[in-house]
Subunit: 342 residues, 2 copies
DNA sequence: TTGTAGGCGTTATCAG
DNA sequence: CTGATAACGCCTACAA
């Protein structure tokens, strides 16, 4: 709507054909005479012409839109990844953002939307779930997207038959368990997140595994949302119990932050009364006190890599899985490095 | 590219005309016979048809894309606003995201891009600057966007002739100064951010104004980036000085976090050795210790309001300015509520 | 180098 | 209610 200035207007004003105007305004270098070129440019400027990207996309049969689907752009985990992906996409095209608010059916909807938009590529971020039916439907939708010419990369688990950036959640959590035992912690609890999230499940499993190899076990495992409030609530519940573990692992950093808040609100101290560890090493949280013991994931690299995979020229012959490993970072929230009661 | 299934394919498969197929696949309710309707739907499903949004946009002469331009999606200030805006946009259309990484010329580029994309609306968030030339060019670009039928809302200063959500930076900072004086603080410093950012400038001015009304002044004013690192660096520089103020105001929360880190890294304590206050009250930071004294801005509301303004039905007769005020929140980073040396 | 004309996938206007 | 057919704004052989 409104007073769209079209290429035809520009051509007329410049006294040239539509084709010539098209050639100078878009790609096709050096095929148009300097005289005409200038006339067209001048006319375009005077008229305030801007090419209609839709029409171009229709005519060309492709677009430069890259879709990015994340559960929640407000969550620093995802916003860091998004920023990194954005940085590599920006020179090549526009970024269309979708947020699912953790609703799986929204993932499905966005894949369809991106196809409708002829997105050249799609990056999906977020844990896969145990819902096999949904995973299958999503796989199918993605297959259609790919069939229609799109590229897809996923950050999360390798369940959709796509290029994947795969954080080593199990191994990272296992290493964390080992480190905590070595730090001197004796009794453990886990704020395990949702049962249905593979990321949460893998971290729980890895942690439990790591403990058992050192002859320990998790005395309490509580499930809740994968969010700050989920961590707060689960920790509050844990603190209600008669016996409380000396060390609690929250399966991601934002849950850990919520857990710390819950501890504080009861007048207790971290790490003196209870030690708390997280997972992800979110940059925004690196300055908080007590500094958070966690497993560092190279979030920026992950975002960059996913974006690069869908954008690089050569179509790989088969799907690529890039495993990224987490590095344990011991900080203040689990107490002094050496001994420890607990 | 790829094996696009078109509406023509669907029509042929269903044995109906293109027009009929179009009618059932898109809007136009109840004008097509149940028999044909079913046949078309079936054919579409079998073929895996998805409408080409570009072609639709071209044919309809409008699109449902809403543009959102922010300086940095990783910054929690903007990601909170973005999430809120996203929530109101999502039911109506798709969201195209642009990040400027604080480069003004990128703002200009995105306005043009959004016009090319026929975006129906555009939300720009971020402080205006003192660069009059850029502001003028941006205004012109926006005027063209509006002339071609788009709606625009800005979160920041009212400099672009658009609907605006305008945080009361001066008043908030002034109130903060008053509160800090009443808390007993005697000497002050300001980490003032970039000189060219109006938001930073207004907060500095308001703070200084508030101090002077209580017979105080800012002993030190340091300029730096509007980021965590900017806060860290400026605070480090401040701590080099012979005399250090008892209370430091960082003009936004992320700078305050950086400042706190700088204080800690020198083995000093907040608030015992130096009190620190911020501005914005970023949700992610509410759980950090020491909890941050700040000026709360209703970030979610701001995002929602801006999005609503560009989406609501009735075109307002003139541009609207919505002022949102900040509320001082005294927490631990500036010490105990009552007395105080400093 | 330039112009002509057909086509991209949809929608929308008109007759039937 | 249905079906031709002309737009929509642009790109791109193909011909001049």
């Amino acid at each position: 709507m409104g007073s769209q200035v079209t290429l035809a207007d520009v051509a007329e004003r410049a006294g040239v054909s539509l084709a010539t105007a098209s050639r100078v305004v878009n790609g096709s270098e050096r095929v148009v005479g300097a005289r005409f070129r200038e006339r067209v440019l001048a006319a375009a400027a005077e008229l305030g012409y801007t090419a209609n990207a839709f029409a171009q996309a229709v005519a060309r049969g492709r677009s430069d839109v890259v879709g990015l689907v994340v559960p929640d752009i407000q969550d620093p985990y995802f916003s860091v990844i998004a920023a990194a992906a954005m940085a590599v996409v920006e020179p090549h095209g526009e970024m269309m953002l979708g947020t699912t608010l953790h609703r799986p059916e929204q993932e499905l909807r966005y894949v369809t939307t991106m196809r409708a938009r002829q997105a050249q590529a799609l990056v999906m971020v977020g844990s896969r779930t145990t819902d096999a039916a949904h995973t299958r439907r999503l796989s199918e939708a993605i297959a259609e997207f790919v069939a229609s010419g799109g590229r897809v990369a996923v950050i999360g688990q390798d369940r959709l038959g796509t290029d994947t950036v795969l954080p080593q959640n199990r191994a990272g959590a296992k290493d964390l368990a080992t480190a905590l035992v070595e730090q001197g912690h004796k009794t453990f609890g886990v704020l395990a997140g949702p049962k249905t999230l593979l990321t949460a499940r893998d971290r729980l499993d890895g942690f439990v595994d790591g403990l058992s190899r050192r002859g320990k076990r998790a005395a309490v495992v509580l499930h809740s949302d994968f969010t700050r409030d989920g961590g707060y609530q689960a920790m509050s519940e844990l603190l209600e119990r008669r016996t409380r573990p000396g060390c609690v692992f929250a399966v991601n950093d934002v849950m850990a932050i919520g857990a710390i808040a819950a501890v504080r609100d009861r007048g207790l101290s971290v790490p003196d009364d209870v030690a708390i560890a997280g997972f992800d090493d979110i940059p925004t949280l690196r300055d908080v006190a007590p500094s958070l013991t966690t497993v560092r994931l190279p979030l920026q690299d992950m975002g960059r890599m996913a974006a690069s995979m869908v954008l690089d020229e050569q179509q790989p012959d088969r799907k690529r899985i890039v495993r990224v490993k987490g590095e344990v970072v011991i900080r203040d929230s689990t107490g002094p490095s050496r001994p420890g009661s607990s």
